[in-house]
């Protein structure tokens, strides 16, 4: 039985169609990855599932509760880590969690224990009395995940959980997220625009421009690519593509200034390519298929990895400064 069901979901903002006829199911106890570039409609879909937005048309339900009509029941059964942090930076880590426990009506006898457990779970028990503004990005994220679990939700949403984190905290956070379904009996719904991060998912839906363009497990999706990929740079890419296709009978095309060749046995193919093209080859690289390639193949473009977090932090600080000096 799927715990999340989405059928023909549409959301329009004026004349922008952010979510365009999206359908998918998420099985209980799995990690589901919602992949797509910035502006694809991931956050909008999450907002509808969390009953923060009403859909223009279509249906979404969580654990059998309609997201548009039974918002109170839906809200009880979910936890969420939003794309932008929603911690109160002027409260301590513990106070943020206590706030959450009261808000979700966690029983009095349970409250402190669950907060303590959550803090220990993310290794922040020793810092529980520190104001959240002193925390690093990775610590804040973990604290938010811990907070989202305090009321024992059935589904935990993670919207771009690793955005703006350094590579080490990212790996660290992923290891942690992968353990959640077993340790906490929770289904994970996560979005990301870092394709390689979605390898840990049991199931994936790829969304672009509001439409789902592919779905399946990472292994299934990679089959779309058909095998290994050889990336090739030559002095004249267009001419080289034709020559390679003719001589080796493989599928080749030019994307983003590189020739992109899908083939079953990449390592054996490289010598043939070089023999065919001779001197005009500038560089060759072999890659086992990744989800990035899947996206590239499906849409003809790479997923942009523009980080806006740096600018956001500055903006936030300016705001905080002005706020302090206004009142």
């Amino acid at each position: 039985m799927p715990i999340i069901k989405v059928e023909n979901l549409v959301k329009k903002f004026g004349n922008v169609t952010a979510v365009n006829d999206v359908s998918f199911n998420v099985e209980e106890g799995t990690i589901f990855g919602f992949l797509g570039p910035n502006g694809a409609g991931k956050t909008t879909t999450i907002n509808i599932l969390c009953a923060l937005l009403s859909p223009t048309s279509g249906k979404a339900s969580i654990d059998g509760h309609d997201c548009a009509k039974e918002s109170a029941l839906v809200r009880k059964s979910i936890g969420i880590v939003f794309q932008d942090t929603t911690l109160d930076k002027d409260l301590t880590a513990e106070e943020n969690l206590i706030f959450h426990a009261y808000l979700y009506n966690v029983e009095k006898s349970e409250r402190q224990k669950r907060v303590d457990d959550a803090l220990k779970f993310v290794d922040l028990f020793g810092r529980k009395d520190d104001l959240v503004k002193k925390f690093s990005g990775g610590m804040k994220r973990k604290l938010e995940v811990a907070r989202g679990l305090i009321h024992r939700p059935k589904v935990l949403f993670l919207d771009e959980p690793t955005l703006g984190l350094d590579p080490q905290s990212r790996t660290n956070l992923w290891e942690f997220i992968t353990e959640l379904p077993k340790k906490h009996n929770v289904t994970i719904f996560m979005t990301t625009h870092y394709m390689e991060e979605a390898e840990v998912c049991n199931d994936i839906a790829i969304i672009d421009n509001g439409k789902i363009i592919a779905g399946g497990s990472p292994a299934e999706l990679k089959k779309i690519i058909g095998g290994d990929v050889i990336y090739l740079k030559t002095k004249d890419n267009l001419k080289a593509v034709d020559e390679v296709k003719k001589a080796l009978n493989v599928d080749a095309s030019v994307k983003d200034g590189e020739i992109f060749i899908s083939t079953i046995k990449g390592d054996a193919c490289i010598p043939d390519i070089i023999r065919t093209l001779g001197d005009s080859v500038l560089s060759v690289r072999l890659q086992r298929p990744t989800l990035n390639d899947v996206f590239l193949k499906l849409t003809g473009k790479a997923i942009r990895e523009d980080e806006s977090s740096g600018a956001d932090t500055i903006k936030e600080e300016v705001r905080a400064y002005r706020r302090r000096h206004q009142s």
Partner: protein, 254 residues
Amino acid sequence: MEFNAIYVIVAREFKKFVREKSRLISAIARPLVWLFLVGAGMSRLVAPVGGVSYMQFIFPGILGMTILFSSMFSSISIIWDKEFGFMKEILVAPVSRTSIVMGKALSGTIISTIQAVIVLALFPFLGLKLGILNIIGVILICTTVSFSISAFGIVLATFYESYESFSVIMNFIIMPMFFLSGAMYPVKLLPEILKFIAKLNPLTYGVDALKHAISPLATGPMGPDFNVFIDIGVIIAMSVVFVLMGGKAFERKG
């Protein structure tokens, strides 16, 4: 209504209020400046009327100002909460919108009333004699007025998304509300058009009720402008209307 949620919203606000010493200091400094610089200065120009000096006349207005600023600031913190994301944590929780509005309104009420009581403690320095019943009356009125102004601020805050709107609210809503409330100048002496606006101002009735409680015997220009029952009725009616409006405004989804 979810009492745990209301409680924790109030507790958070209160904790932050106690931590931000600068906010408390500026909240207390503002009425002091008005009372002892503006009030004392004007007292030399304006002779006492009907046994009420100008300083005594503006005292209810200064209490009203204390409440106005702290209730509005407290409610406008909703805009910061939206801007800094914390509002989402509250909105996504299984809590009714009315509870959220009640929580925010009660936060403003408690914080404002505390500040008003601190300012009220100055009354002996102004030559005012208040009995215990008057004092209790003043505090009760302060509490009700704080609630209605906080609720008004919440309704206002739902229209704004970012802190940039703060100076607009400050200059075009809070300051006019203060000046056109009878705080510094009797409503009955205002030109017709301003008198009309003053009568639409929620704060006017609060200041007037405070005048009744602080100088019950004063008559003439320095005395109250309306019947005390009208004042109280209007304050309570407005509280109810603003809370309902706030709840509705929070209900809106995109």
